[in-house]
Amino acid sequence: MTLTIFLILALVSVLSSILVITQKNSVISALYLIVTLGSQAVLYFLLGATFIGVLQIIVYAGAIMVLFLFVIMLLNLKRDEFGPDQKKGQRVLAFLFTLFLAVEILAALKIGFSDGGTPAGAVLNPASGSPSEVARSLFIDFLYPFEIVSILLLVAILGVVVLVKKRF
């Protein structure tokens, strides 16, 4: 049952991410990106990581996608703005090298898990994904990184304001 849900979600996320990168219209690819992010959030729920799953929907599918859609609409792009490739064969080379990369990663996975799917001693433990467990780790072991993130976000806000305010 879980395996069926996983396979459906995997299919949906792979297909929708292929659609993201092949669409001509960037609004449509943004909408397909929401499908990808949503199916990954359900995968997180399937793994038991409820906190990160909710965060994925709020931050990615909510905030970041709204930002993308706003910028797309601000730019008001024409449909066929991008002509033919400047360099011939760039697409073919891109596919070739990425195929090589994918084969490499999958081979590494195959070597790493030569004795079947899960390494010995590893069991799915949904309890470690609960908000209280994540919060305990976040506020005890990772307190300094957590505080530094606030500085990062502040700097990002200031940077955006400075970039967009001036006319270069």
């Binding site: 292929i18 990168i21 792009l77 697409r91 990663i105 700097v155």
Partner: protein
């Protein structure tokens, strides 16, 4: 129960799709979306490892990655806006001022 390997293979596939998206698209916004796909693929493998290990540390790292991705998206989209203002285009082939 779904084995850990399945999650890692799905993550590798999504990462490869993101790489193809960065390489074949010339629309800067779609290139950004492909980068988001890659970040999400890595997040998926981090969460799978974390849940199979029974430790929340991987999820804290995913939390930090999300914060960095949000900052990156905001700054990157602002840069795209500025480029569009000065060049009337967001084709990444035309942004070659620093090209050797």
């Amino acid at each position: 129960m779904v084995p850990l390997n399945y999650y890692l293979i799905l993550s590798a596939l999504l990462f490869a799709i993101g790489v193809v998206g960065v390489l074949i698209n010339r629309n800067a916004i779609v290139v950004f979306m492909s980068i988001e796909i890659m970040l999400n693929a890595v997040n998926l493998s981090l969460i799978a490892f974390s849940q199979f290990r029974g430790s929340p540390v991987g999820q804290v790292i995913v939390f930090l990655v999300m914060a960095v991705a949000a900052a990156e998206a905001a700054v990157g989209l602002a840069i795209i806006l500025v480029i569009h203002r000065s060049r009337e285009s967001i084709n990444v082939d035309e942004v070659n001022l620093m090209k050797w």
